[in-house]
């Protein structure tokens, strides 16, 4: 199931966050969405998820807009940075709330808790969680509906080295099963190890979209390509 961004433009008042961006993220691959802070990565994901209305253009998932999906969490699993948790709610209850709204059976809650290795903390209130544990809980929410498409915003944030290696395996495994994986990040070395394709945006404009190999394939090659592509026009916002 392919993710397709077509001519996407989004303005917030006088600020143009995304300007005529188009790219595809095919099934069975990990696509890295790269860009400096404020480049429009998160806005693009939010439009894809129906949270923000585009000024022009569309984002389609398997040919359908997110808001038109009958059971969206069963198609698309998402983790966004700003998405929060009620601090007084236990991890398992947080997922049970989502499961009820998503039309996913409750047994999936324990399955995903196991998958993100949070089973032992499932009965604890989120207020006591470390950043890494919150990331894992966010990933559990994304995986809840066993979706064909994963859209993740900075998923490695707050994970320790073992957690990052684990995440890499998770994303690789999902892509190998034929799922579409899109990861927004500015940790280039991480993306270089995980992604098959990269999309680079800067100041709201598309700078590159294609296989990672075209940019050299290694972390240092990706970094120099990234700096060259993003420095071409305008300072970072």
């Amino acid at each position: 199931m392919e993710l397709e961004v077509r001519g996407l433009t989004k303005t917030f008042g006088p600020v143009t966050a995304v300007r005529d961006v188009s790219f595809r993220a095919p099934a069975g691959q990990v696509t890295g969405l790269l860009g400096p802070n404020g480049s429009g990565k998160t806005t693009t994901l939010r439009v894809a998820l129906g949270l923000v209305r585009p000024t022009a253009g569309t984002v389609l998932i398997g040919g359908v807009g997110y808001r038109d999906l009958a059971r969206p969490r069963r198609v698309v699993g998402a983790m966004l940075e700003a998405a929060g948790f009620h601090p007084g709610r236990r991890a398992r209850d947080h997922l049970r709330v989502l499961a009820a709204a998503a039309g996913v059976p409750d047994r999936r809650v324990d399955e995903v808790l196991d998958q993100v290795e949070l089973t032992e903390a499932a009965g604890r209130r989120v207020r006591g969680f470390s950043l890494g544990m919150k990331q894992r809980l966010g990933l559990a929410a994304a995986l809840l509906g066993d979706p064909q498409v994963l859209l993740l915003d900075e998923p490695a944030n707050g994970l320790d080295p073992a957690g990052i290696a684990w995440l890499r395996g998770l994303l690789r495994g999902a892509a190998d099963q034929g799922r579409t994986v899109v990861v927004a990040s500015h940790v280039l070395s991480e993306v270089a190890q995980t992604a098959d394709r990269v999309v680079i945006v800067s100041a709201g404009r598309l700078r590159f979209a294609g296989p990672l190999d075209e940019l050299g394939g290694t972390g240092t090659a990706l970094e120099s390509a990234f700096l060259r592509l993003t420095a071409a026009q305008g300072a970072p916002a």
Binding site: F12, A83, G84, H86, H94, R96, V97, L98, A100
Partner: protein, 243 residues
């Protein structure tokens, strides 16, 4: 969506702590009435005592506000809209669940009002008359007010989104603004304002000399406010970017 909203309420402590304040206000209110010289042999004083059940409506208003503005505060609204991109359904589910919970809180407050009144009347040697039509109109009005204010709260929370701001606005309106507006526009119009209408509905009559609508009229006006707030909340929420 209904089940999800229900799980939200039952899985955290804050709504229960908030709702528990309702019966406490009722206990304090009835006790205050008796202690300040309310005559337990006067049937109208008995009605006044039972009318304290309606005070819990202030609590259900805050409860409704927290249902939506609390989600914006914690950022969990993003997950809610990811699960259900049809925001109309989200707000409708919240209105249904929080309205019902508000009514349940009103029922508890009514029971507490009856219990505390009975206790004081027994202690002071009065005879409690609960069989009268008046009693049930008073308690039923209080319950209806608790329902309506929970719904108004959901609407207000969706409009303002900032939890502290919405709470301040609601309490400021109750404590200050509506009274001033009421004086400016005169009692003929003031009785159509939400808290004047609620006083007519739950028979608390805190407004003193103002002529209120009849109880059924207050109920209809308040229901109208609830419908308008819920409707505006849906319209505003539909078009808004969640960032």
């Amino acid at each position: 969506m209904i089940r999800s909203e229900f799980r939200k309420i039952t899985s955290v402590r804050s709504p229960w702590l908030l709702l528990a304040a309702g019966p406490l206000i009722v206990v304090a209110g009835v006790t205050g009435l008796v202690q300040s010289g309310g005559n337990v042999h006067d049937p109208s004083v008995q009605s006044q005592a039972l009318a304290h059940a309606g005070l819990a409506a202030i609590i259900t208003l805050l409860f409704g506000i927290a249902a939506v503005a609390g989600e914006y505060r914690h950022g969990s609204i993003t997950d809610t809209f990811l699960s259900c991109p049809d925001r109309r359904r989200v707000i409708t589910a919240k209105v249904a669940v929080y309205g019902m919970a508000g009514a349940a809180a009103g029922l508890v407050s009514s029971a507490v009002a009856v219990g505390v009144t009975a206790a004081w009347w027994a202690a002071k040697g009065g005879s409690l008359q609960l069989s009268g039509r008046d009693t049930w109109l008073t308690l039923g009005g209080g319950l209806a007010a608790c329902f309506a204010f929970a719904v108004i709260g959901v609407g207000l929370g969706a409009l303002v989104r900032n939890l502290a701001g919405a709470v301040a606005l609601a309490l400021g309106w109750i404590a200050l603004v509506e009274g001033i507006v009421g004086q400016l526009i005169g009692s003929g119009l003031a009785r159509w304002l939400p808290f004047y209408a609620s006083e007519a509905l739950d028979r608390t009559d805190l407004g003193g000399g103002t002529r209120l609508l009849p109880q059924w009229g207050g109920g209809l006006v308040l229901l109208g406010y609830a419908v308008v707030f819920a409707g505006v909340a849906i319209v505003v929420t539909l078009g808004r970017d969640v960032t």
